[in-house]
């Protein structure tokens, strides 16, 4: 009973995650006093202060990804996961149900870990795969962490899970709890 509720909730959270940006970046610099620049990775692509950030990036030769093909399969995966979790609420309390739910939680956690890895690789590329002819000298390569700040020139760049990301993590917690409950 309890597992069922948890799985319905988890499915709802995962579905809801599609409506919100998954990851966010905030960029603060002295000459942007009350206008910290923001970027969000959403289902539809990169949104936010794209214009300004693309204007700035040529100074340090960062190649701003204009397209993220990963988003297409990630969207599909999230939708599929929502459906799988909903099914997990229906498969009952028997062994088949329990095994199914454990597999579900493994799938969701795996998806999250894999996504995090992809994002981290992307972030590494942004900081390393730079135009060697960029005008500004003395800029070291950088790797923004998944969560937290990094100093890039005069900017402090914060990365953090946005609403969608938080919802996915919350869903993962619920599914793990749900599968443990069922196993007990």
């Amino acid at each position: 009973m309890k597992a069922r509720v948890l799985y319905v909730a988890a499915a709802a959270l995962v579905a809801a995650a599609l409506a919100f940006p998954l990851w966010g970046f905030a960029m603060a610099a002295p000459q942007y006093p009350d206008e910290t620049l923001h970027l969000q990775i959403a289902r539809t692509g990169i949104v936010g202060d794209v214009h300004e950030i693309s204007t700035l990036q040529h100074f340090i030769g960062v190649r701003f990804p204009t397209e993220l093909p990963e988003l297409r399969w990630a969207t599909g995966a999230i939708a599929a996961l929502a459906a799988l979790l909903l099914l997990g609420a229906c498969v009952g309390a028997g062994t088949v149900g329990r095994v199914y739910r454990v597999l579900c939680s493994v799938a969701l956690v795996t998806f999250l870990v894999a996504s995090a890895a992809v994002v981290q690789v992307r972030l590494y590329q942004v900081g390393h795969d730079r135009d060697p002819n960029a005008p500004l000298r003395g800029m070291r390569n950088f790797t923004p962490p998944l969560v937290g700040p990094v100093k890039v020139g005069n900017f402090t760049v914060w990365s953090f899970p946005h609403i969608g990301g938080v919802l996915l993590v919350a869903a993962a917690v619920l599914t793990v709890a749900g599968s443990r409950k069922a196993a007990a």
Binding site: Y32, E35, H51, E52, T55, L56, F59, P135, L136
Partner: protein, 610 residues
């Protein structure tokens, strides 16, 4: 040890003197510190008020922060200003408008703010050009002159006022009298007109003929009357004959009666504007006799009184703003010019000859009590206008007063014979006035008006929404539109011009449409073209179109004049002017034709689209 008594006495005297001296210093320093604290605005903090000061013969409006006295912006209006790329080039539409309406300079005197319910609403500021009979409107969302009106049938647009409480008209006084029918051969005495301008269309709706020189204006707070001081009722044409009469007048114009007469077709239309002659239309104009050659006229915030300042008479005349009767004529000092108000029933009058501001109580003066003078403070020197914050509106704030002094003499480090003007900020929150600070300006503010930062700041835009005809990034082009005409659609963004090469031929007229495609505030780019008398400043989102003659054959580097980025110096491009007889073909260039839709600044396409 035995000490000589004389030494002891001497030591005591020295010690006492030192103590007294240090006490004196302490007191002085403390008064200074208190004043300094009142005007100190720490770096990064904002002033409390916008002060708009007319620029006088600078033809502009100065924007100063109060209480700091920091000059924050100059809004060019009637004079070209290279710093803002304003009306610079011969082909600039604003410059052509200025030339057509009287010239590329102006003499601005009286800034007035648009009002809603008797308080400034932050929509517009109007400023007169005394010299060339013009009225300009400044949009306060962009701090930019948007309309310039040449007032017909009059010369010398002097006093102006907004018809309270909701800006029904702008009243503009014609100071320099003219032949009534405009014909110099007419021997009849000259006359002047008061104009009523529609605030939205900026058209003169109607005018009223008045004998004499119409000076300063204000309006009753209920929209019924406009008041104007008039000198030279004698209608004299030289100084001696202008000051014969013992009394001149305040002209009260009944606005609803005037509108009725205009609607009834009683105006004589000249240059498209109906002029009402009050002698043929009684009930419109009331002349209230005041001592000769008066100057300022100021209506109290509660709308009860109109106060005319005597100038040559040491008095102010208190007029009931509803019955138009003179209530009292108290003496205030020598050379009273203008009056302003606090929120506690006090008036402050500038005394030109005494170089003072006198504070007096209105109720006491009206009641004929002898102790109506509250305080006097010296100003430096020969004060003209003065304005307390909100004193020209319905709810004065009663905290600061700005004295706009005509002469500065010894007040600033000497800079040759042409000295700066001197503004002094006075604390009027207490019974006694306190001098806080002074700041100089270039010539020459006459009057000022204020707006609370809390009201205006939220209304101010810092980027433009691109106009429908703005050039879009990726759609830049260089196109020949005629045998001697080239059109360039250009965009600017850190740190490049697109295109960064424009090839033309000697004799070409080059029309540049330039859009700053930045979206972030304060990212202003210039477009300066050497040896072409051209500098444009473009705020984010702004588009400007200008036509220049290609000039002599050569390579001209256009460059950014407004420091923008780390690559500011590199932000430039070339206008290459081929000789007239050159046989080089100059293909059109389209940014969109570049590979994969990528905009490569300044790379001319080989397969140019025609």
């Amino acid at each position: 040890m035995k000490r000589h008594p004389v030494i002891l006495v001497a030591a005591t005297i020295v010690a006492t003197l030192a103590a007294v001296h240090s006490m004196g210093c302490g007191a002085t320093r403390s008064a200074r510190s208190l004043a300094a604290e009142k005007v100190y605005v720490a770096p990064g903090e904002l002033d409390k008020y916008y002060a708009f000061l007319s620029g006088g013969q600078s033809g502009s409006v100065f924007v100063v922060g109060i209480p700091s006295g920091r000059l924050i912006r100059e809004i060019p209006v009637f004079e070209p200003r290279a710093a803002y790329g304003y009306a610079m080039n011969d082909n600039d539409p604003r410059r052509q408008e200025l030339v057509a309406t009287g010239g590329v300079w102006g003499d601005t005197h009286h800034p007035v703010l648009s009002e809603t319910n008797g308080m400034p609403d932050g929509k517009y500021l109007w400023i007169n050009d005394l010299a060339n009979g013009r009225l300009a409107r400044i949009r306060l969302d962009y701090f930019e002159a948007d309309r310039i009106l040449k007032l017909p049938n009059m010369q010398g647009a002097h006093g102006i006022a907004v018809v309270s409480p909701n800006t029904k008209y702008i009243v503009v006084n014609g100071e320099f009298e003219q032949p009534t029918d405009g014909l110099v051969t007419n021997p009849a005495p000259y006359t002047s007109v008061v104009s009523f301008v529609d605030p939205d269309s900026m058209q003169v709706k109607f005018q009223v003929r008045v004998n004499g020189n119409i000076d300063i204006a204000d309006t009753s707070k209920d929209g019924r009357y406009s008041f104007s001081t008039i000198y030279n009722l004698e209608q004299g044409k030289d100084l001696g004959s202008m000051i014969q009469y013992d009394r001149d007048a305040v002209a009260a114009i009944d606005i609803p009666a005037l509108e009725k007469a205009v609607a009834a077709g009683r105006g004589q239309v000249r240059n498209g504007v109906p002029i009402i002659d009050p002698e043929e239309n009684p009930g419109i104009l009331t002349l209230i006799p005041v001592p000769k050659n008066p100057h300022g006229i100021n209506v109290t915030p509660d709308g009860r009184y109109a106060i005319a300042s005597g100038k040559l008479s040491p008095t102010v005349t208190i007029i009931d703003a509803h019955t138009l009767k003179i209530i009292a004529e108290p003496e205030v000092g020598l050379g009273p010019l203008h009056t302003t108000f606090d929120d506690r029933g006090n008036a402050f009058t500038s005394l030109f000859l005494d170089s003072q501001v006198v504070k007096w109580n209105i109720d006491k003066a009206v009641a004929g009590k002898s102790d109506y003078i509250v305080d006097r403070i010296n100003v430096h020197y020969n004060i003209g206008h003065l304005q307390a914050v909100g004193g020209d509106h319905m709810h004065p704030s009663g905290d600061y007063l700005l004295a706009l002094n005509k002469l500065s003499k010894d007040q600033y480090i000497p800079v040759g014979p042409d000295l700066p003007e001197n503004q002094e900020l006075i604390d009027i929150s207490g019974e006694k006035m306190k001098m806080l600070s002074s700041f100089p300006t270039v010539p020459e503010p006459h009057d000022a008006t204020f707006m609370a930062v809390s009201v205006l700041k939220p209304l101010v835009h810092q980027t433009f929404t691109p106009a429908s005809d703005a050039v879009e990034a990726g759609k830049e082009r260089v196109v020949r539109t005629g045998p001697h005409a080239v059109t360039v659609d250009m965009t600017l963004i850190r740190s490049a011009y697109t295109p960064d090469k424009v090839e033309v031929r000697e004799g070409d007229q080059v029309t540049l449409k330039i859009t700053n495609v930045e979206t972030i505030r304060d990212m202003i780019h210039g477009f300066a073209l050497p040896d072409h008398n051209l500098n444009i400043a473009l705020a984010p989102g702004y588009t400007k179109t200008i036509t220049v003659d290609a000039g002599k054959p050569g390579v001209y580097w256009y460059y950014c004049t407004n420091f923008c980025s780390a690559l500011h110096l590199e932000m430039r491009g070339r206008m290459v002017v081929q000789p007239k007889d050159s046989t080089v073909t100059l293909p059109d260039w389209h940014a969109a034709a570049n590979v994969q839709g990528q905009v490569v600044p300044g790379v001319p396409s080989t397969g140019a689209k025609k």
